[in-house]
Symmetry: C2
Subunit: 339 residues, 2 copies
């Protein structure tokens, strides 16, 4: 078993944890979960079957929690945050269903992907259905600002996925280009999820901007840590196998850094592994060795910490609230996943 | 070359034609076409490439024309019908991109499908992007009623596609079940496209209901004729090959009727062709022979005419306008495609 364990968390709290945000949003999340089940329902049996397979697979539901906490933070007392949080989770679920088809993935959160059980066709179409339901929930809320934020995110996410597809297996991808991809495909939804909270709470423009920036930078940190974990986590915790990205030939930041910093001979190894897709277990071990030698994983985590700090400072001007503390804990938690 | 030519059009006008709706909407459509190109654009090159391949392939753009004519009909004088018509066409295009992946189609409108050129992955993701852009355009218009109608249609279309997938190759599908599928997967968008016209024009509830019903019944007629054409049209006009549905084992109404009315031996033929997918050219010729013997194609066209008549009567109470005449012509045109 190859693995890299790095302790890079320097958070102020003793144990960075999502416990606080979970506690604060528990009552609301119970209602979100109910709404998820109800709105993923359909007389067409295959729809709830496919949807529930993924929905019940134990995702953290971090994104809807962001929406709920961000709405609470500004004293929101209505019902619409439940609908918007559900909508955000549906957008995420739809993306995952389509991602698995695009990446030809077999496993997701430690379980067979929907496409392995029901086929690519069902995954594409049920994803479309959930996206449609997400929009209906937003329309039901009736906030044009929230609709604008979330529909823009939907386009940007798809744009990011296409960007990623177009850059697939391209080891010459620059770090800036890579950040543009993960900003679109991952961070845009975190950002939208966080921003719609203050929006429906009728909070000020600076408050909206703060939550938008928090979400965006948290999303970047989250994705970078996810990419680092793929070369050094524990597959049980991950719900995916260490080395999945390597085997699929994905050009993530640890690969980009190791490739750029490598010798000519090392670059040949990367080309063979990623571009020609000769990525076996021995290759994975060698890849992790090269990454360690060049500090590629540690520096990926360093980049994540950089974005995490920006996320924290985005919230700095806001009044102290339990929600603010909880959102800061989420940053530390995301980064400490590599511990 | 096998083929069935049936003249069943009994429309009052000498030549049923879409000329009138094309003329009435020409100026608006020029703006829609411009907006389509602009909103299908992206810095991610692959997106306009894939999108324009399908967009430029000469679809009739009937759906956006319905929106424009329906808005004009009630004296609408703003700009929003351009955006909504574009949105409708994007929803349609997104569906086509995903459909081709689901059906594993090689040809669409006489050209290679996007998935054959850029792969399934690009088709899924560019479809998602166009759907996102469709929603952004609707949000830009800012009519919650129009948003409600179109987002509901998006869910229903996906639901219809899943229904069709679940019923795939099931020869026991009843006619009612089949109508439920085509109502969702095809007619719902025609209905939404027509209804948002009076909605943004601020027309009365009965006017909205009239256009909704017109669109729904027109959509049903349109799909049934399309299915009949697959067993008796000319592939140049169709932009698809006669027998595509047969070769793909699709259970459309001509098949359902021929199967239900057939002898035990004939049912064995259908099971072998559709369920076991032994559908070659000789099989296609035999299939058309059986359909002709049992009046399956003629009766499919008869069912289409039934829905066409309901569509016509839906508009009956409305004041006489050039737009009303043009919309009625569209019904006759759809049905006369089999002539």
């Amino acid at each position: 078993m190859v693995g890299v364990v790095l302790n890079i968390d320097e958070g102020k709290r003793e144990v960075a944890s999502v416990k606080e945000i979970i506690d604060l949003t528990a009552a609301d999340m119970a209602r979100v979960n109910k709404l998820i089940l109800s709105k993923a329902g359909s007389d067409v049996e295959m729809i709830p079957e496919v949807a529930n397979h993924l929905i019940s697979s134990g995702g953290k539901r971090l994104r809807p929690m962001l929406t709920l906490a961000a709405a609470q933070m500004f004293g929101y007392s209505g019902e619409d945050h439940i609908k918007l949080a559900t909508s955000v989770e549906f957008m995420h679920t739809a993306t995952l269903l389509h991602d698995d088809v695009v990446d030809e993935s077999d496993l997701r959160r430690g379980r067979k992907t929907a496409r392995m059980i029901w086929g690519n066709q069902a995954s594409v179409l049920v994803g479309d259905f959930l996206l449609g339901q997400a929009f209906r929930l937003m329309v039901d809320v009736g906030s044009l600002d929230a609709l604008d934020i979330l529909s823009t995110a939907a386009s940007i996410i798809a744009e990011g996925e296409v960007m990623q597809l177009a850059a697939a297996k391209n080891l010459e991808t620059t770090e800036d280009e890579h950040f543009a991809v993960i900003k679109a495909k991952t961070a845009a939804l975190f950002s939208a999820a966080a921003e719609v909270g203050p929006v429906i709470a009728g909070a000020s423009k600076p408050a909206r901007a703060a939550l938008r920036s928090y979400g965006m930078n948290l999303g970047l940190a989250f994705q970078l840590i996810d990419d680092a974990l793929d070369y050094g986590g524990d597959s049980k915790d991950l719900g995916k196998n260490v080395g999945d990205d390597f085997r699929e030939g994905k050009v993530t930041l640890p690969v980009i850094l190791a490739y750029r910093r490598g010798t000519a001979a090392e670059r040949e190894f990367w080309k063979d592994a990623i571009e020609a897709n000769n990525a076996d277990d021995a290759g994975l071990e060698k890849a992790i060795g090269l990454m360690t030698r060049h500090g590629a994983i540690a520096d990926t985590i360093g980049r994540a910490r950089h974005f995490g700090e920006i996320a924290r400072d985005a919230l700095a001007p806001l009044d102290a609230t339990p929600q603010k503390d909880a959102l800061i804990d989420v940053i530390d938690f995301c980064i400490s996943r590599v511990v």
